[in-house]
Symmetry: C2
Subunit: 218 residues, 2 copies
DNA sequence: CGGCCCCTTGAAGACTATCAAGACTTGTGG
DNA sequence: CCACAAGTCTTGATAGTCTTCAAGGGGCCG
């Protein structure tokens, strides 16, 4: 169940100016592939926005079984939680640039800026929506439906066209979909055989038949 | 998959004063067993606090497969979401008294009360935590572990001692744990046979061996 | 070119779902 | 208060999906 060894190297700070309302509040840091960004139980000192790369959020069971509760792609926030301590770990799926904003800064601003305050709530609410949608997948969908849902979601979030890059490993996908790596691989192959997708490489999917994929989504 | 027919009768408003900071903001309403409190897609006009009874939050797949994403017990808030529209349905598991607070009221207050504003965020964050914990259950736990987790959670939330009332049906539990009603029933029986719990009735469990249950939780 | 990951594929087995029937509970009406 | 009916829960037998165990293929980097 435990996947690749985690590379402890990560997160060297270096100030870089970029252009959006949040940017001036934080600093851009980097995290290298499989590098830990923070761990479950760490003090929640910062909130993050993905600038480039991809991040996975994970939780572990005592015996090592792993769940990936979500992936975060460029433009998305994570660790924007209300608690003082992180309830999950965050790791870089691929080399990342992250905007790290001190929690204190956010909270101080929110004290004086109701719009920001509401935005914080709103972003957390969006995470909750996604979490509930995912519970549906984990609780009631079969392997094909899970993968179809995943691919359509990734396409919606990243794809400009029908070419969808998959920065994460099969094991990451398996732990996200509540399946084993073997089942994920077999299901990819099945969708390819059925002409629903093409697999130019393991890390890139081409959607050949979105209509069919939507039906398969369940 | 679709369980009992839903009883449309519910939610008659009647003003009743009670004692806590939220109470003066809303009105107490009632919902009868299996009555709909609101449906997915409804305008999110109110947020709720359970005064008595129990509520289930559900989502449906197009073909009728159902997921219960959570239960809410007395003292707990629900529908405290940021969006304009409910992303899930809420139904009364048993006859309920609910404090219904108009969303507008909450938002207006939050504009002037930072503590409240933060509290909203915090409550939503707590929901997110629970959701992620539940994803772990749905994604990686087996039937025994799921039921053990559920029982310990219910005990922690309601039980004053080792007697834990279960206001919800087996079907509700099944849809919450991502199992079938038969598997839930068999797993209850198994835990009883193993002396971990006793079942004075279908709707009440007595924890006979918490230590063992904790081990089984996974 | 060789080694190491990562991914794919195959065969067997386990866990849960499905199908089916019976027991118990609860509520209603005579 | 009893009898019936409907809903709920339990149990059994069988089937199916996914997991587990095992091995081989392919790509990337030193």
């Amino acid at each position: 169940m435990l996947p690749q060894a985690t590379n402890p190297a990560s997160a060297h700070a270096m100030t870089v100016p970029v252009g959006d309302a949040w940017t001036p509040l934080g600093v851009v840091t980097t995290a290298s592939r499989n590098g830990e960004i923070f761990a479950e139980g760490d003090l929640a000192a910062r909130v993050y926005k993905v600038m480039s790369g991809a991040v996975r959020i994970t939780k572990l069971l005592a015996d090592g079984r792993r769940v990936v509760t979500g992936f975060h792609l460029p433009g998305e926030f994570f660790a924007l939680e209300a608690g003082e301590v992180h309830r999950f770990s965050a790791e870089a799926v691929a080399d990342c640039q992250l905007l790290a904003i001190p929690r204190k800064t956010i909270l101080a601003r929110a004290m004086q800026d109701h719009a920001l305050s509401q935005q914080l709530w709103s972003i957390t609410g969006a995470s909750l929506d996604r979490a509930q949608e995912h519970m549906m997948l984990l609780g009631r969908k079969n392997a094909v439906e899970r993968l179809a849902t995943f691919l359509l979601d990734m396409a919606a979030r990243t794809g400009t066209d029908d070419r969808v890059p998959l920065p994460m490993s099969r094991q990451d996908i398996a732990d996200f979909l509540g399946l084993t790596i073997e089942t994920v691989s077999r299901t990819f192959t099945q969708l390819e055989r059925d002409g629903v997708i093409a697999l130019p490489s393991a890390r890139e999917v081409t959607l050949k038949n979105r209509r069919r994929l939507l039906q398969l989504e369940g």
